[in-house]
Symmetry: C2
């Protein structure tokens, strides 16, 4: 099966390498990583065992028009680049293919559906601690499961195929009935930990050890759960305990937004905060705490972005 990976950072590099390792023909679209991948291949240092794909076995491209049409296209770029990335995916997609959105955030599948009506769109939410150690070099330190959800709830057959494909490549996979449910659940973790790691200049370990941070995390999580409820998505209260407690045993870890901030890259504020706040507001719920955190992030980002 032909798989395209759009973006060869931590997420694209890790999952793409797993699929290639699992026997699929994987075509990577890369920009800043392109030259290094061409020359040296892709290296994954993983808690589950290190492996690499040598340069002569790696299919890597720096322009989407050079890529073959693929059965499965995984979008693993930063959501901040979506205005540039989403419109250029045509050449790599088979007409009846599957588009798997591995980005964080909210509302991305709907944006894609507006552009790519005939494609089957799924969320592929990555619960993983992984980061880019250097060019063509991913470090995977914990977790790694993917949650799949179809944008179109009728897409159950393809959902099963996708689940099988990823499981066969050695990945832990779960499913949710729809994209909105899956994304709300993921945001329960992402909204507090990504933003607070930037505003408070903290790793997950710093946050896990602070009673004040625990209050912040749980109050933000409760707001996401309330917003979800207003949008018709039920998340049981025990999920907050589970997500808030998830960092307790975790080694020192910087969420991707903190890495972006420290590297002075654009932050995924729209994808992680604004889109869901706007969606909740359309359903009559104001995410005041989430908006406040997003405004703080806007302020901090504006100090280095022009």
């Amino acid at each position: 099966m032909d798989v395209a990976i759009i973006g060869a950072g931590a997420i694209g590099g890790y999952y793409g390498a797993r699929l290639a390792h699992g026997g699929h023909t994987v075509h990577f679209l890369a920009h800043s990583e392109y030259d290094h991948l061409k020359a040296h291949g892709l290296r994954v240092d993983s808690v589950e065992g290190d492996f690499s794909i040598p340069a002569n076995e790696l299919h890597v491209y720096n322009d989407v028009v050079d890529m073959p049409p693929c059965d499965l296209v995984c979008v693993a770029t930063k959501a901040t680049a979506n205005d540039d990335v989403l419109p250029i995916l045509w050449p790599v997609m088979k007409p009846d293919g599957v588009l798997l959105v591995m980005q964080n955030g909210f509302g991305i599948e709907q944006q894609l559906a507006a552009r790519h009506a005939r494609v089957h769109i799924f969320s592929g939410l990555c619960f993983i601690c992984a980061f880019r150690e250097g060019p063509g070099h991913v470090r995977h330190t914990a977790y790694g499961a993917i949650t799949l959800a179809p944008l179109n709830p009728d897409d159950q057959v393809r959902l099963g195929q996708l689940e099988h494909l990823l499981t066969a490549a050695g990945l832990e996979v779960s499913t949710q009935p729809d994209v909105v449910t899956a994304r709300f659940r993921k945001l329960v973790w992402n909204i507090p930990f990504n933003g607070l790691s930037v505003v408070l200049d903290a790793t997950t370990k710093d946050l896990a050890e602070s009673p004040a941070a625990d209050r912040l995390v749980r109050a933000l999580m409760a707001e996401v759960v309330e917003a979800a409820a207003a949008c018709g998505v039920t998340i049981d209260a025990g999920f907050i305990d589970e997500m808030a407690g998830s960092v307790a045993g975790m080694a020192e870890y910087s969420p991707s937004m903190r890495l972006d901030y420290l590297a002075h890259r654009p932050l995924e504020i729209d994808a992680l905060y604004r889109n869901v706040a706007a969606y909740a507001k359309d359903h009559g719920y104001t995410m005041a705490r989430t908006e406040q955190l997003a405004d703080e992030l806007d302020y901090l980002q504006a100090r280095y972005l022009v």
Copy 2:
């Protein structure tokens, strides 16, 4: 008239010096400033003209038991020291005297009333840009008005006397009908600007120049106004524009909480945030944004306070 000033920092130093300059006998209680004040007196560099009180004309004490009973006692210490300061004021107060609370925050007059039943308690809210340039040296850069309000609304005669006394010393004075109204109005400015100056590492000028900060400021101000309304205090919506706009023309200024933070002193989180949030909650209103800011401040403070 005998006046006591408890605390010889920026606020106590400035207003105490004004009253001494206006002909009153002013007794300063100082701790860290004591030796310097004894030896060198008190210096005020003010936009309204510099002046100083030489050491031989300055009445300064390092223990409240050495102070004479006074007609007017102005509490100008940090609210973070209130557990230590409020219980020791007995020796300096005349039985029927006036206690003027010049601290920022909420609920302090009520705490004092529980201890000092026979004393007449007033808020004396200071709208001023002033800071401690060095030992015994206050710099006053803008504003300087005081808003008076009686804890007991029947205390109108003393309110008038106090207003006259401060006006005669050259100060701009206004009044509010009661302590709760006065303090809610002051918090409209203090809650956003103090906390955000710490969390975002920003001066008022930095905040004034940022659209994101303006959103944060106005949303927090709106929450204070809503909380006030829930507590029976009406603040007209135009007040938010006035307060949010107040920093636009202001020179670079660090609110006192930012100075405390940069000097690794305890932050006035209870006085400025927790007390009013608890009061509002008792009246059925949750100050979610204020609580979030307070929790962020708690986290940041805990990094240097043990």
